[in-house]
Symmetry: D4
Subunit: 254 residues, 8 copies
């Protein structure tokens, strides 16, 4: 008779194995589980795109958990209020056009929305490199367990194929930088000084395909473009995630 | 004219300041944002108890994010299925009586539920000590920013008063151990070998007030009692959190 | 059309998944891939016992790679020469009754023999705890990825059931110590002074079942018994591994 | 009835909250609490400028505590003796024109003077970036808790607006380097060889506005200019702080 | 002709050498530069006692710099208000009997007062051990540079003789623990739970000679006695420092 | 009478000393014990070339132990199947032309084959530099114990002369980079994006003498050429090792 | 024709190999290269005892290099002046009976004297354990390279036999503690408070055989006896080394 | 009555203080206590030059202690044999023209010779920078305690003036690199491949004044010149040290 401890182990292994096998080939991969990546993935999932969100840390949420200077509140301005409503995040008007929400609620509601939209999450998973074949476009990801790197081990990666990749890794713009470093025709200019207003207003223009198959969103979009940085104001992040989702979904014909 | 960057900063500071001042005295404090702590806090909030969840890490969710061995799935057995339903966590039957859910979804839905129930979250906040005055009961918490300790700095703490404290810190049972170390009449026996079935069946009996003013829930309850450990099966955790919430709410007359 | 990178990933995932599922319940688990563990596993496999060798490091071989003081040679005395022959390890007589072999060859030939005997290897896998249920015997292992611990992460383990467990973890006797620490009636005395002759002559007597379901072999056997330590002489290690295999196989009726 | 522990916490939180809110917009911010920064802030405060001193470490005083090679004495030459008198720092003539003081006394008296002049101190606070908006001048600071960085956490910053910024961060000239790195027209040449006499005599000429809105003082002034370094002689530091205060106050019309 | 860089070096070396030689034998040594140690040293110096304050860190001030939870404010109650006045520390009444001061000002004014009273500071200096000769009393200190220990070096210490030693090392009570560990008849009970009121009211009773030649003050006094801890309220600290100074001065007949 | 512990020590010291002296001058040195290095060394040994394999780690096997993402399986395609057979590595067809083997078996069988072919292994041995004399070719290796570097010690190296050197250090191409850094006419372009098919098909062309006396094999060959990277597919590695062995043996006239 | 680089390597390897083989069995081993160990070894060598000094660090000299608090001077009193003369160490009378020498000179002259007396030095060599066989006496040492431990590697040790062992490891008394920990009838009481006079006067009485085959000298002698500690006064150290040498030489009949 | 512990401390402090004051202005400073620096300092001292050797580590001897690969033997060739004789270092002919000595003896005899020649040693002392005044020559050193840097502290340095500086810091050529980095007209080419013969034969030509006031010796000379490296052969080191001493002494007219 099988022990129930074994059943528990088998259940976890079988289910996750299937999820992983099912995502070795997919429509879109979003790299980075901060606000723009979560918004993008949730909206892609909502449009029927088979997509996964890959996060190098154990927890999802990125830099949003800590609010501003560890005071766990975030601010969203008028333009993005409808996304707070859409994701069911409570808020309060602080001054006209400035809404304050709890950072913990914002993270959990965005993540929950992505789960409800059928997004598969691969956390503790690092993207080491991208796959670029003869067609000269980013066509997949070279992934590994994050703890392999944290522990300084030498272990080979595996590969996932995806039609589109969305770099939502924040101001590091890690995927874009990989492409740049390996010789792709892409230049990451790095984020400029803090100027929240300008950064918020320009981010949608910077949210686009920057290399065949590779889109950027959130601060990664501003970093590639050399745009200003913002602080703990997240309207632009959410709108940029939404825009990236629209662009990718259109390409996929959804 | 005030710059909008300043407005954003002020919004965050004012809102969080108010939240902190409002919780310097409260009904109940739950320490630890894993599954039992989240369930407990969500259900306390739902019964109208003014309560905060204090988590030492930046992210909420504790050990649940990683599922079993980094395969982000968890298992819940029949007895706790209704709590998955209550918290709106999707699941799938693996074998009769064993339900598998995604760990990322479970964390985010539990957190979202606690937010909706009005729980205030203080993350990156460590409990250094407890307050025990002349009445011989745990009447408050001595808190500090977690990074103070991570950075090896010497900075004094602040204090929050609470009528009841729930130790949901997992198998370390950190609050119970503080009481034990400082001389309170409480013995933390430490968790025993793995025996998931037994651990799940006994956890409700161990969920109780172990020192005046101090309740234990989840693996902290089993650790105090010297009970067996379980693995990535979370039904008992959720049920224990529910039980702790009921016990505390009853005492408070809610 | 599937990319061949995806086929490679799928091949690895499918094969290893099956191997892991197949060993969630097994006859015997050997913990530790040093000389005694490898000899034991190879001989168990040779007798048709379904068995796995679990090693916390990335590489198999334990302390044998470095020979003595990083001079990669080992010594085996007359009594164990037949095992060098059996495992096809070349040697040279140094003085009467003392044979010298290359440590790299010894490790690789022992490992190869275990592979040929059908042993399944789980490397980078730590045993965090053991499973002891109502029957009071060690009935399984609580395992996790080693890098989880190296990286200081908090991730739940999984469980493997095994009829017999062989502690081949060297002088730490890690499995025996877990049983001792959690309250099992077992005392690990720790290895005594260096006295190679005595250590070699007594090791077979100490190779035995020390707790229901748990056998010890190699330096773990001497450590539990408080026996002397030896140096880079490996005859006793191999003979002890052989003895442990015989004892376990007999119990299993092979 | 409120416990007095809660009153203590509330007192601290309310007072510091007000201080922080009051300085989200200010006349001048001095970055770095070494001798030149302290002198500058004390003299700015004395002229009625609303100003804060931001220091990344827990303690104020910078490199002055250790004197020369951990022998806690400093030297000041004739030209700056009047500032020792002004700040009430005891000294002793060593040779004609060379005065020796205790480094601990120098730090504490300078800090005390700044406090008496109404300067607000924000210690454990790092300046991560500066704010440069459409007017092309440094108009504010992007700040964070220092332990956030020490602990390797990812948490968003907040922003303070200030009319003038004084870089008193020593030979790193950290604020000037940020401006340089992000593309401002400013070049930090780095300090040259040791030549105390020259360094002391030139520092006042280098104490100036180096980018719209940004002044440099102390070793940061010499580092921007590629000037020589000095050792534990602090007259130039104090005079440079005084000069920076005069220049900023004049601009502000005080 | 001597270069002025050499004059500066010589000035520092000569002055500090003399200070050190002058304090190889002294009346009293205060170990630890937190509030109680600073108050004690300042008041000892004021009574004409030749005394040094020895601090292991580079900066003086101990845990006071950070206020409560990095909010740099401290609280003092009515009983100790006169000491704020005496040390010229500005404060503000928060509620009746509770006064709030800036932590940076408190540290610098206390340090400045000690300097004015002629106290010699030895910072970056660790007390490794105490000297106890045939008379069975603490008669001196075994000191070393703190960086020697931080860098893991093996360097012998030097010795300072003092008639009385005051342990002001906070809740570690490091000097008292050395005496306890080496076999002196002294027991350090360790601080108990937080209960600010009680801790404040009992601290004067615990401020006393706990071993021949050794006095304790501040949290070290409460830690030896097993008394409760307090938080960022510093009245008791200052009063205890004052008491310790009175007791030591009386013994010395000043 | 000599103790047997001493005999054991002497046996190890004498045998390894002879091995080291015997290899101070040799035909070929292979640097790096991953799959291509092992295959190369085994085949060189099989052709009668006196050769050593130098590995900086304690264990032999390099990045092969961990399979793909810690799932210890590797894949080999049709072209290299005959090498699996030659080295007696069991495999299983996954899809047409794709064979899966156990990574642990592959490592141990390759190592065993190299041992059987008479290759001498120097593990824990780092190559710090190469010897290039007046003839302008790599003529030897500057070696040291790896732990010397790991422990941050300053100890001089020793030298081994070899007619040919094979760089099998993987994508770091460490030997080639040393030559490049010290001014040899060699450029290491670094590996490009992942494209397994192309990388596998081009590797043989890149396996060649890249500087007089220096051959490259495995990923080092691709890295020097700026070729694409592959993942856990090892056919090209083995074939490249075979090719390198053929080229070196031909030069040596074997 | 052999390259001269190879000749150099062979010269070093052959000579040191012979030295090591020659000392696998010896009369006496001194563990620890501080002043007492060096004096003991030099004097043993001078009496014709075949002896080695084993030092775990790279350099010989132990804690003497740093003098007192990094001021590289040491003091010796009248009783030991003749040993300064004997070892040709220059000194200067500071006060009657107190002689000051340079620490660097003291170390180098003691080491030079031991070299001249034919002592063999094994530096970077750690003693991991001792050999105690059926006769119940310390009869040899279990040694390893120190960097093996510094690098956290698992490598087996080798063994050296010696008729007598002298523990000169300072206040850690490492060899004596090994015997104590493994169950030998020996108690290491640990050094007491600083009292230089007493420590110096008692050290000769404590310099003796504390376990069959094991002598203690220098601070190790005082540590075993629970005697007081001294500071940077080295007369007792040298006299104790001399006494240990006499005792061991007598036993060996030299 | 003064305690003898105090006398010991005073003796050390007074003597070392005098030594330091006496060397704030000197003829020559040798930086680095390896073989070339020691030989240079010993020979400078022998010619009546007032000189100090400054070593950043606690022990003197540099990379010579470890011989080759931790086998503590060094080799010297015929040309330098007379220096072994001069410094009284025992040796043995290995092959014609190759002499082997013990590394421990070589270090201690060289150091002893420097002590006998009146060289003052400042160990644990780092050279942070050099002094270059209006005359454009290196005229002094900016020094600090090494542990200050090891402990990551911020403490100002002191200055020593010297007429000539000898960089004997080995292949890092640290002083030359400081001059290069700060803009002096000096280029450090870095050492080339290993070619012992050539390196030995060219080193004397490279031993010279490379910047006004700055000489290089030993591997620093070869590193500045881009010359080949050698291994554990030390004849060139000693001869280079001798040459540097001659050049400096001539300049000083000794």
């Amino acid at each position: 008779m099988t022990l129930n401890e074994v059943t528990i182990s088998r259940a976890i292994l079988e289910e996750q194995h299937r999820a992983l096998i099912d995502h070795l080939e997919m429509d879109a991969a979003v790299i980075g589980g901060g606000p723009s990546g979560l918004a993008c993935a949730a909206l892609l999932g909502g449009r029927g795109v088979r997509c996964a969100l890959i996060e190098k840390k154990l927890s999802i949420g990125g830099g949003m958990w800590g609010g501003g200077m560890m005071f766990p509140r975030i601010v969203v301005q008028e333009e993005a209020r409808r996304l707070l409503d859409r994701f069911n995040i409570a808020y309060k008007e602080f001054e006209e056009g400035y809404y304050v929400a709890k950072s913990v609620e914002a993270v959990s509601k965005l993540t929950a929305a992505a789960c409800d939209a059928g997004v598969e999450f691969f956390n503790l998973t690092s993207v080491e490199d991208v796959m670029v074949r003869g067609d000269g476009r980013v066509g997949g990801l070279v992934i590994n367990w994050t703890p392999v790197d944290m522990a300084g081990l030498h272990v080979d990666p595996l590969t996932m194929a995806c039609t589109y990749t969305v770099d939502a890794t924040g101001h590091d713009a890690m995927i874009a930088r990989m492409v740049e470093r390996k010789g792709g025709e892409l230049r990451v200019k790095g984020e400029s000084f803090m100027w929240a207003e300008r950064a918020e207003s320009q981010i949608l223009a910077h949210t686009k395909e920057v290399f065949p198959g590779l889109f950027v969103t959130g601060m990664a979009a501003n970093a590639v473009a050399g745009e200003c940085r913002m602080g703990p104001i997240f309207g632009g992040m959410l709108l940029s995630g939404e825009r990236a989702a629209e662009l990718v979904a259109e390409r996929l014909g959804r």
